[in-house]
């Protein structure tokens, strides 16, 4: 039987992946490789070096998915149990393949060593399976057909796994051969300034038509601080058609959500703002208080940002606001550092000192201390001054702890600049 493989699960094997320090990162590479041939990753698991548990998890995965990729646990030692657990689950005997033994022996000989007897375990293949040479290590990979489905066993080290999986997914490989004509195509759009539920409410009417349409589009919504992402994906065997349908869907979504959409090509907000500045041949500078340099750091994170970032002042203390930004002491006394008049003076100060076309000021209370009844933690004033336009200034109250408040403050400032430049 050689039916098409459509869905997959990944199982990473190794007790070291269950602690508090190491993650299975192979699954990212695997997800990408499989998506390219239209196979959708539906789940992943991590199991320790535990034969019974691995057998169960593998059996469950094989029931749900067409393809199960196991990584790790193919070494020569006692706690490398992937071969055994898979054989148990499939009821297949393990048989030593003399060609593998011979290859491993030669590998050791090349380095002037004798193969330890232990390594013969690596030559054991479940009956009916085929093995894949590993040019970068001693553990061969294995491909085991199971009633029209497929189990693939790969070594854990990325430099061994990656070329082997690449070969398997090629048109002639054991996975690529059985990939369908259909592929998964994706588009996405990122928004800022709206909550997840508000984005959802705007998108909802479109969702339902797509979900039930002739070409069903899957939608995923994902919120991170100051940003809500919408991902659309569609399976199709007609690339042109899929791209057109997804483009239309993205267009409809963008119209429904409006200006809050800041990108449809995965650029992050500092990048989008940077590109707008570059196109308009404008420069930017910032005076930051509570964000302590985070806005500048995010702007300069973008390669090539020196073309439009002039620089900035982190005015964490009042003295610096006075000495480096020329904020009037009487203003600070009358209104306090977290006030619209001071924010306005900060934009004036940074503009005068840098000559930037776009001047941003942020002052607020990031917490955990420093809040008052009138100005609780999360109170942040964002001011943006663009040459020849009226100053835009607004007082916000951001939820969350220090890090969240700081991140939302910079996100809001960047979005304010973006919207002003759009007009």
């Amino acid at each position: 039987m050689t039916s098409t493989l459509q869905t997959a699960e990944v199982i990473a094997v190794g007790s070291e992946l269950l602690g508090s320090t190491r993650l299975d990162t192979n699954s990212l590479f695997i997800a990408d490789q499989l998506a390219r041939v239209g196979i959708e990753l539906k789940g992943k698991s991590v199991v320790g070096d535990d034969r019974a548990r691995l057998r169960e998890v593998f059996a469950g995965a094989l029931e749900r998915a067409d393809l199960v990729v196991l990584t790790g646990g193919l070494g020569p030692t006692d706690d490398d149990l992937t071969r055994e657990a898979v054989s148990d689950a499939l009821g297949l005997e393990l048989v030593e393949d003399p060609e593998i033994t011979e290859r491993i022996r030669r590998r050791f000989e090349k380095r002037g060593l004798t193969m330890p007897e232990l390594n013969r375990r690596q030559a054991m293949v479940p009956r009916g399976g085929t093995w894949i040479p590993n040019p970068n290590g001693s553990a061969p990979g294995m491909v085991i057909p199971c009633d029209g489905k497929l189990a693939v066993l790969l070594p854990g080290p990325p430099r061994e796994l990656q070329p082997m999986l690449g070969d398997l997914c090629a048109a002639s490989g054991a996975i690529g051969r059985r990939a369908g004509a259909s592929r998964i195509y994706k588009v996405s759009l990122f928004t800022t300034g709206l909550s997840e539920s508000h984005v959802e409410e705007l998108a909802q009417p479109l969702y339902s038509t797509w979900r039930d349409g002739a070409d069903p589009i899957e939608t995923t919504i994902l919120a991170t601080p100051g940003q809500v992402e919408l991902h659309l994906s569609m399976r199709s065997s007609d690339e042109q058609h899929a791209r057109r349908v997804l483009e239309e869907a993205r267009g409809a979504l963008t119209s429904a959500i409006g200006d809050a959409v800041f990108t449809t090509d995965n650029r992050l907000l500092p990048h989008v703002v940077g590109d707008m500045l570059r196109e308009r041949r404008l420069t930017i500078a910032a005076a930051e208080s509570c964000t302590g340099g985070l806005l500048m750091q995010r702007l300069t994170d973008v390669p090539g940002s020196s073309a439009y970032v002039k620089g900035g002042v982190v005015a964490y203390s009042n003295e610096i606001k006075i000495d480096l930004l020329g904020v009037d002491e009487s203003l600070l006394r009358a209104h306090g550092a977290v006030s619209e008049p001071v924010a306005a003076a900060m934009t004036d100060g940074i503009r005068a000192r840098t000559g930037a076309d776009v001047s941003v000021a942020i002052t607020g209370i990031a917490g955990p201390d420093g809040g008052t009844v009138d100005k609780p933690v999360g109170t942040v004033i964002v001011a943006v001054l663009i040459d020849g336009e009226p100053l835009q200034i607004r007082t916000h109250l951001f939820p969350g702890g220090r890090e969240m408040v700081r991140l939302q403050s910079t996100q809001t400032a960047l979005d304010r600049v973006r919207r002003m430049l759009m007009d």
Copy 2:
């Protein structure tokens, strides 16, 4: 039934975790918290926003483990399905809890918003379960007893999940109450300025004695840019004994590694430097070029940093170096912006303008462009001036891309300040 919880599985829910870009990192924190109360993580899974599949994976996990922790999928939208899938698997009806609805409504009102009707989904609790307030978000957590076992549902964002799980694992919490007598105890130490293999070489002789001793200590080494961490852990039912053994081990390691150890209490470097400044009643300011505010941002990330951070200047362009820091134009022409004389002038400039006791300057080439044969990408000059001491200045060549270079530059600057303050 209230038997002891010994084993656990974690299920992270969200289709975005099955792509090629995002990993479930919550499980690291969960593994750590559970280990502290002696519960061993036996497996973890990631499932997309797929009700049937999640139900199956959850049912399988609950069969194998005493405790199943699910993260994510508790949002208000259609594809947040954790509540439903768990209810399906356990055969429990979902019931709206009016107190949760009321809390969510108030949360929105506080920000001047009306609660979208969608959010009522977050108030649905499987019958028999109890809910846990979430001070940092709208989704409450849930604890559901299942025939002597336990299912715990937590929101996905780390800042919401972490305090909630911490409470659950406390002695009086739903998990902590049912933990066994033996616990896993841990100590750690963080180093900077040495490579992973260098730290390993220094630690190796101690490792082997611990591994084979009467009280085996497990050791883990973990390298992140600019930092190498050593984690020691030990399982014991005698807390005093375990703590003494681990303290001794940590002491021996600290002696073996020396000054490169900057903390044994998990404070990150900006925090350690901040505490040193506070104790010595000193202030700090920085003039940053290639790091673009990252040093200031890291310093001000620490709550309470306004006590010692004066502020800084991000001098991304030469004009700003001249206008805001008073760097001599002829110096820039003669040596270039990335040169020791300019770095020295930057420290003088920031000191003169801020009056800080500790003045730091960073100038370099973070890449990807801007490198030359003489000054390739990664060339960074770090200068530190402490009042009454000679200027310390050094040219570094950091490996890696833009982000790595920027991070290592700030790490090196912070470490330089730390070592100068120690003397």
